[in-house]
């Protein structure tokens, strides 16, 4: 009998083109997602006078540099940024890559669009020149981010040289409490293993609490695998995955659908498969989370207090906590619920899908924001769906701005940034120094918790607002 294999091992083996004696593998890439930042890859390809090997495997959408208040490229003020958004048109037109452009309701954040269109599927390898490509692992794909040279390499060869990473399983078992979401789960995981906790590993998220998540929730969890240092994150495909994919534009149809489903059923890890590392968490112990520092691992339960550097395990950690608290303008010992917030951002490839907006709207309904607050849907289709459900009305009535799809204030490359010292409650994935603009203080949390902050003017426990 063949040895039990992990899902990662199965997908890896199925995509080996060449195994070299020196430990390097030429791995075939099934899907390549591109965005406005991929212009560098096209430029490198052009320098070599080469064409895309498999334009049929490429899908593109502008997201990083697009405005969240206009769909007109001409409105992009910075000429360099405008050129990048224009370049995706000419590059995809010349090469034959499928484009979901501004003005097309299918446009959005690449990591929202891929699953939504059925481009992302179980058992595939998928790359994109963006670190949050790990998101797509939620459907049981091996998906990871690459730099622009590797983007050009995939364009030219549809392959990548890789050294095989190790496999890690993170199991979350039990029932999630009321008001606890996928975002809280992944923040709790990162707080537990640290921001370098999964370096060199592909994470498989397992356990009953993960299986109980919708695809949207799984996408949120896998999205932040990179914040735990992981190369990729994945969840085994199951009935939930198959039901999600059925009928999506780029999912297989009729006889091919049956063939694909039969294959997808073979993708999950075998019983008894051995992982290089195993970590487990109790779902019931996870509370709504908020980050306090400048690394995603600096996450606390909303019931917690800003930590004391004196409790740090060593001098280096103490020093880095002090620096983080100084940047964040926080006093140790302060209850999180007493920390005032200046601004709220709901969006990003972590939390801008329809389920995120429903959860946010549920809390926003009948309440009023007391600070400037934005909702930026992940794609035109998410926005349309939310409007069909009347969620936009709820948000607008509560005083939120209802904006156009893109990465927006998660990374601020389109100019959507905060002001120095502004404290932003954000559903995005990185609270790095300056991430949302120089001097801006970012706190990561779930969409429901972001609304709780928006209507309270300070961090608040969404469970008390119910």
């Amino acid at each position: 009998m063949a040895a039990a294999r992990t899902m990662f091992e199965k997908i890896w083996q199925r995509h080996v083109v060449v195994d070299r004696d020196d430990g390097y593998t030429l791995l075939y890439i099934d899907r390549h997602l591109m965005h406005d930042g991929s212009a560098a890859g096209f430029a490198k390809l052009r320098e070599r006078n080469m064409k895309l090997r498999r334009p049929d495997r490429g899908f593109a959408t502008p997201d990083h540099y697009v405005r969240s208040d206009s769909r007109d490229v001409a409105d992009i003020a910075d000429p360099h940024h405008r050129k990048l958004v224009e370049a995706i048109r000419t590059n995809t037109a010349e090469s034959g890559v499928t484009l979901f452009d501004l003005g097309d309701e299918r446009q959005g954040i690449a990591h929202v669009v891929g699953p939504e269109q059925g481009v992302t599927q179980p058992g595939l390898t998928l790359v994109c020149g963006d670190s949050h490509t790990s998101t797509h692992g939620a459907l049981g794909a091996l998906a990871f981010g690459i730099g622009s040279s590797e983007v050009a390499h995939v364009m030219a060869t549809q392959c990548l040289w890789q050294r095989k990473p190790r496999a890690m399983r993170i199991s979350v078992d039990g029932e999630l409490g009321e008001g606890v979401t996928a975002k809280d789960v992944i923040l709790a995981i990162i707080a537990r293993i640290g921001t370098a906790g999964a370096v060199g590993h592909v994470i498989e998220y397992a356990g009953s609490a993960i299986r109980g998540l919708s695809i949207e929730g799984r996408l949120t969890v896998c999205n932040m695998s990179i914040e735990a240092g992981g190369k990729a994150g994945m969840v085994a495909p199951d009935d939930t995955t198959i039901a999600y994919l059925e009928g999506r534009p780029f999912a297989p149809k009729s006889a091919e659908w049956d063939k694909a489903v039969a294959f997808w059923r073979t993708v999950p890890s075998d019983e008894g498969a051995v992982f290089d590392r195993d970590v487990s968490l109790d779902a019931a112990s996870i509370a709504p989370m908020v980050t306090w520092g400048t690394s995603p691992e600096d996450a606390l339960s909303i019931t917690g207090r800003i930590p004391e550097p004196s409790t740090a395990p060593d001098a280096a950690k103490k020093d880095s906590m002090k620096r983080a608290l100084d940047y964040m303008g926080l006093v140790p010992g302060t209850p999180l619920e007493q920390v005032p917030v200046d601004r709220v951002f709901i969006g990003s490839c972590t939390n801008s899908r329809i389920e995120d907006l429903r959860a946010a709207a549920k809390v926003a309904k009948g309440r009023k924001v007391v600070i400037p607050s934005w909702v930026v849907a992940g794609s035109g289709l998410v926005k349309k769906q939310a409007e069909a459900e009347g969620l936009d009305r709820i948000f607008r009535d509560a005083g939120f701005e209802w904006r156009e799809p893109g990465c927006s204030m998660c990374v601020g490359m389109n100019g959507d940034t905060g002001k120095p010292q502004q404290r932003i409650a954000s559903t995005s994935n990185r609270n790095f120094i300056g991430r949302q603009g120089p001097g801006v203080r970012t706190h990561l949390l779930s969409p429901a918790m972001a609304v709780a902050a928006a209507v309270s003017g300070h961090f608040a426990d969404v469970r008390k607002l119910a």
Binding site: G23, G229, I433
Partner: protein, 200 residues
């Protein structure tokens, strides 16, 4: 791509763990052409919000001028996949990075730009940083063929590197050309996949 063989140069110590690529080059500089990004290296660490140089930051200290090596803390250059984090350092002369661990994507991006990331144990990385702080402008020598790092104290450490990456760096070889030499294998894979996964 420029080959990497040996490097004997001034090294700068960077003590913060988990120094992310947003700190190496903030996002607002990424959309500009490469030659306009050169001044963005460590921008918000080097300058105050009103653009005054922070004298305490290493790259602002004259003694470290001409540095070509960085000695960093664990999980150096984690976060965003921006290859600009490598190119902006290379364009500022920095071509070798010594740390206990690296962000995975940055690590791979280095090899695409003739730069060498070297993993050494945390204790030795800490010791090297202390030496560099104690004698600003001290030099480190790296010999890729021999896989050694010689510290300012004369102590020699051997480091591990995949022979594949090592060969490419030593020759300044381009990966795309290498991959194209396997074109027959890629075609065979594609033919097989058309049979097995016909829905793609």
């Amino acid at each position: 791509m420029e080959a990497f063989t040996t490097l004997d140069a001034v090294a700068i110590p960077i003590d913060q763990p988990n120094l992310d690529t947003d700190q190496i080059i903030p996002a607002r500089f990424l959309g500009k052409p490469r030659d306009m990004q050169v001044g963005a290296l460590f921008h918000d660490l080097r300058y105050t919000p009103d653009k005054a140089p922070r004298p305490e930051f290493v790259t602002n200290m004259p003694a470290y001028a001409g540095a070509k090596i960085v000695v960093a803390e664990r999980n150096f250059a984690c976060g965003s996949s921006r290859e600009n984090a490598v190119t902006v350092m290379v364009d500022n002369g920095l071509r070798a990075f010594i740390a206990p661990s690296f962000g995975d994507i940055f690590f791979n991006n280095c090899f695409q730009n003739g730069a060498l990331p070297i993993r050494v144990d945390a204790a030795r990385a800490g010791e090297l940083r202390r030496l560099l702080h104690a004698s600003p402008g001290a030099r480190i020598r790296i010999d890729l063929a021999a896989q050694t790092v010689t510290g300012p104290d004369g102590k020699i450490d051997r480091f591990e590197i995949d022979s594949f990456r090592k060969d490419c760096l030593l020759k300044g070889a381009d990966e795309v050309s290498l991959t194209l030499s396997y074109d027959k294998d890629i075609k065979a894979f594609e033919a097989r996949q058309r049979q097995e996964m016909s829905w793609l």
